[in-house]
């Protein structure tokens, strides 16, 4: 963990060297991811109109100098709504994947340093959750609890905890057999110390890659749910809701339905390209789950 101690300028140049070392597909992915993070951060400030404002009498207008991406089914500015929707999609997915990774990894570390009995039963439980396809699991949870923003966040996170747990546990179990961990135990260090100080720092890179993967899955799940009308509820709208609400513009080929769908795809494709371009030792193949 020497990186934190480096001066900012040096860190910047090492980050640039890292980015320059990526293959072309990775650079494209990185650019797309940075673009969408930036949009989520500052997009709503740049929005030319208010998200709810009716700015034109023409619905499903094409591109024009006043409205770059045209107007939606109620005559609102698509670009402004897209910028606001991106914040919901990226923000919710970031928080949910962080929650999923922290919970999954926390439980995995706990299982690794605890006794065999806890480890076995926790792992069996997680195996059961993995065996439920993620969309089905999310649908059952939504039917039971509803989908207010807070609950939606928890449901998204909960759906992918088990996938992260499986990866984190297999990493932690391998590290647990290492000599330095055994030495720390022999020294009489407590379980929490072994888990957090000895094991966790050495699995951080694969975990970051898994975080990216969870983020992509969660963006896809969230947009899918919103598209079905079960995710983010009006008046809030994420990118998936924008596709749904403009569905009536499909026969006209309206930009209002195409652009949000393309936005989601560029975000998820970007993440996928970036993760795939990471060095093999960092990346862990993780399937849907």
């Amino acid at each position: 963990m020497t990186q934190a101690a480096l001066p900012a300028a040096k860190r910047w140049s090492s980050a640039r060297a890292w980015a320059a070392g990526l293959p072309l597909s990775g650079k494209i992915g990185l650019a797309l991811v940075l673009f969408w993070l930036l949009v989520a951060l500052v997009g709503p400030v740049l929005a030319p109109y208010s998200t709810g404002a009716f700015v034109t009498y023409d619905v499903f207008e094409g591109s024009s100098p006043q409205h770059w991406l045209g107007s939606d089914y109620l005559g609102r500015d698509v670009l402004s709504r897209l910028l606001a929707g991106a914040r919901y999609t990226v923000g919710l997915a970031l928080v949910a994947s962080l929650l999923a990774v922290v919970t999954g990894t926390g439980l995995a570390l706990f299982a690794t340093v605890s006794g065999r009995w806890i480890d076995e039963s926790l792992s069996r439980f997680m195996d059961t959750l993995i065996s439920i396809p993620s969309r089905i699991f999310a649908l059952v949870l939504i039917a039971a609890f509803g989908s207010s923003l807070g609950l939606l966040l928890l449901i998204l996170a909960l759906t992918y905890v088990a996938g992260n747990y499986r990866i984190a546990r297999s990493l932690a179990v391998n590290l647990d057999k290492m000599d330095y961990v055994q030495v720390a135990r022999a020294r009489g260090e407590g379980r929490a110390y072994v888990a957090v100080t000895e094991i966790l720092p050495n699995m951080i890179h694969p975990l970051l890659a898994d975080f990216g993967l969870r983020f992509m899955f969660i963006v896809l799940l969230l947009s899918g749910l919103s598209f079905l009308g079960l995710g983010v509820q009006p008046p809030d709208a994420d990118l998936g809701s924008l596709v749904l609400e403009n569905l009536s513009g499909l026969p006209e080929g309206a930009l209002a339905i195409l652009m949000p769908a393309v936005a989601i795809a560029t975000l998820t494709v970007g993440v996928n390209l970036l993760i795939d371009a990471l060095p093999a030792r960092t990346r862990r193949m993780g399937g849907e789950g």
Binding site: S25, R135, S223, P251, N272, L273
Partner: protein
């Protein structure tokens, strides 16, 4: 897995060990299915309101709610409800759909064949295309076309189905006016009509499956192509096409079938979006309706069908991996 004694002579012992391994997998899958049913039952039983209250609305008197609760069997303890629910599903005497007021089994019976047709057609389209792409790019590995296919499939894996469906409708139904944009009925008078109405749903579903399957197939074939026996065949002067067909494919068939089964599990999630978009009367859209109307018995049964299908595909992938791996076989 408990350690299995290694038989000295392979002949009688091998098939026994093999059977034991496979039986172990089947047993474990059944156990998982049982645990999954428990999870589904517990989660869907935790709803804040209860179904009887939900159906009667705010103005119902407590007596009415209690009566309906009794009629629905909601006043029995949870573990007994779980057992009778499980028994009901196993024997086919499943519960009543709360909203449609019909036995769940009957509704599912009408919808399931439609979903199976959609899944079957998608499989029939996806498997040959994916195998072709996967094997072709493995043969050309390292070349420009392989890298282009690699990035293409990598990108496609992450594209949401509704973008595929939207773009498909836009091109084929709106601009070219070749295909209908929604499915109006499943009764078709002719083959042409059948093909016309299924093309877009199948296409939207197939892209992600093809991309995933092609990537896994490529990996399996490349793994074989790097083995010494391929180099030997090459040095002996066998043509590349023949090496792949006669030497590599017989050895890679296990991993490839494994890849097919795992990729097909992507169909289950995809169907939920695609059936809803195209207004297709299958069980995935039925499940979405069950969520919006909070029809728990229907939802539980649909969820269990999806989970069982998923576990079946994973089990097939597992068993094929065992059968295909001579090391696992002889251990």
């Amino acid at each position: 897995m408990a350690s299995v004694p290694v038989p000295l002579e392979r002949a009688p012992g091998t098939s026994f060990v093999l059977l034991r391994l496979i039986a172990g997998r089947v047993g474990s899958a059944l156990l998982t299915l049982l645990l999954v049913s428990l999870v589904v039952f517990v989660i869907s039983g935790m709803l804040p309101g209860d179904a009887a209250q939900e159906m009667l609305g705010q103005s119902a008197t407590p007596a009415q709610v209690a009566a309906l609760r009794h009629q629905l069997g909601l006043d029995v303890p949870a573990h007994i409800r779980y057992l009778s629910w499980l028994g009901g599903m196993l024997t086919g005497h499943s519960s009543y759909s709360l909203v449609a007021n019909m036995p769940v089994g009957e509704i599912i019976g009408q919808r399931l064949p439609n979903s199976l047709i959609l899944a079957g057609l998608t499989t029939a389209v996806a498997v040959p295309v994916a195998l072709f792409i996967g094997i072709y790019s493995a043969m050309r590995r390292g070349t420009f076309i392989d890298r282009a296919l690699n990035i293409g499939t990598l990108a496609l894996v992450a594209v949401p189905e509704f973008l595929m469906a939207t773009v498909g409708v836009l091109i084929f139904a709106v601009k070219l006016r070749l295909l209908p944009s929604i499915m109006l009925s499943t009764e078709h008078s002719s083959w042409g009509e059948f093909l016309r109405s299924y093309t877009l749903p199948v296409m939207s579903l197939a892209f992600v499956v093809i991309a995933q399957m092609a990537r896994m197939t490529r990996a399996a074939v490349v793994d074989q192509l790097n083995r010494p026996y391929v180099e030997m065949a090459l040095l002996k002067g066998v043509k590349p096409g023949r090496i792949v067909l006669c030497h590599v494919l017989p050895n890679a068939v296990g991993p490839i079938v494994n890849a097919i089964a795992l990729s097909l599990s992507y169909l289950l999630g995809g169907a939920i979006i695609v059936e809803t978009i195209f207004n297709y009367p299958g069980i995935a859209s039925l499940m979405v309706n069950a969520v919006t109307s909070r029809d728990m018995p229907l939802l539980q049964t649909c969820a269990m069908i999806f989970c069982a299908a998923y576990l079946l595909l994973v089990l097939i992938a597992d068993v094929v991996a065992i059968l295909a791996n001579p090391k696992l076989r002889s251990q």
